[in-house]
Symmetry: C2
Subunit: 248 residues, 2 copies
């Protein structure tokens, strides 16, 4: 969404400005408790892929490099939000998240909770984190979103993607229908199954299954196309007609 996926280390200026504008409108109209989380796009994914292919792993220099570039991307977004008068605050994910020796995720959210109370907009991102288990690992924006939804008691998690939502079959096939609602308590088996009746492939299946616990507890998720003008604004305002609602 915020990067040009075709070109390494390049932001999508137009898209990022549109996002900032729509968030700004919703904020001004009263939606004040927001946490923004972005992914790696052609920054993080590109750098990590290069590191893995050249060195086989993320080493110390690699960790410094990934966190540096993700910080660059984050600041591009925060700068544009600030340019619209929004009190955005960059939060370096690797400063608060870490992986314990048993593989569990450690984090402390007090400053973020206090920022939200003050109607600031913390902006986190998928990032490399230190790990007691594997030395370094990658924490995805999706994982952060689901975790925060549980920890902060969020009502809604909005996933702005570059597809319209979840389809009943491969969306490139004729007759493919966008699902208005996906109830994972009944559809979870097909989600888990690669011969699913729905086209919940790769990243999308993972995205949803990772949220089982928050969804079970009542969090509503909305997966929608963030590149279509107005969708982010509508999603923020509570309209659910812009994509697929995922509930338990």
């Amino acid at each position: 969404m915020i990067t040009d996926k075709e070109r390494p280390l390049t932001i999508d200026r137009e898209s990022i400005e549109a996002i900032a504008q729509e968030i700004s409108e919703a904020y001004r109209e009263g939606l004040r408790k927001i946490v923004l989380i972005h992914g790696g796009g052609s920054y993080g994914h590109y750098v990590v892929r290069n590191l893995i292919s050249s060195r086989g792993e993320i080493d110390e220099d690699g960790f410094s490099e990934v966190t540096w570039w993700m910080g660059e991307l984050n600041r591009e977004l925060v700068m544009r939000l600030r340019g619209r008068g929004l009190p955005a605050v960059s939060i370096s994910t690797h400063s608060i998240f870490y992986e314990r020796s048993d593989g569990s995720l450690g984090y402390h959210l007090e400053p973020i909770v206090m920022m939200i109370e003050r109607e600031l907009i913390p902006v986190l991102y998928g990032d490399a984190i230190v790990s007691g288990k594997t030395r370094y690992s990658i924490l995805s924006g999706d994982t952060i979103a689901w975790r925060l939804s549980l920890e902060l008691g969020c009502k809604r998690v909005l996933f702005a993607t570059n597809v319209d939502g979840v389809f009943d079959r491969d969306p490139s096939k004729p007759g493919a229908r966008l699902l208005k609602e996906l109830r994972i308590s009944s559809d979870i088996v097909s989600l888990d199954d690669s011969s699913s009746k729905y086209d919940v492939t790769g990243g999308m299946r993972k995205k949803i299954l990772e949220g089982l616990e928050p969804l079970r507890r009542g969090v509503r998720a909305l997966i929608f196309n963030g590149r279509k003008k107005g969708n982010i604004y509508r999603a923020l305002k509570g309209y659910e007609d812009v994509g697929t609602v995922v509930i338990y």
Copy 2:
């Protein structure tokens, strides 16, 4: 040290490169457990002064602004350290530090501890933080340094400043002598007293008194002129002939 104090929002490129170079030499020669902390210079201090004079306080926009500019300065330093091949990692202070309602300082250092174990160089900075008591407050680099020295069990805290150390009288007066050692268990009364026999004025007195607890527990502090070529390298290598050693 790393900013041009005469000009707002301007780094001192030459000084910052010299610092990066000297840290790089010491790191390469085996000094691998380092945490760097920098102050606000003509970034943070300038922005905060402007906010206070125009709005009387740090409000939400002000918090976003201070954290933004300090992030800029931090990235200038981290970029130059990385340019020397050092695995520096930017740590946004406002993401981990906060002030509780009772005024005490809250923070969680697990990721930083794990970074130091891996011989990464976390780079923190004086910053605005959220406060349960006053909404926002300023956390100085000095305070961070002393706290980390206690929490991480550091042996030494090095203060690179723009003066040579602590003098026995106003250093602009003839005959003023640089103290090689300041033993605060015996000199603490005069430190607290503005009619001190030593010239430990303003920031310097505060800098030292804030470290009473870590000093009492055996931390050695060195206050020296970081602008003099070679001093940072020598201080990192353990030489104490570059300024004033402060002990309990």
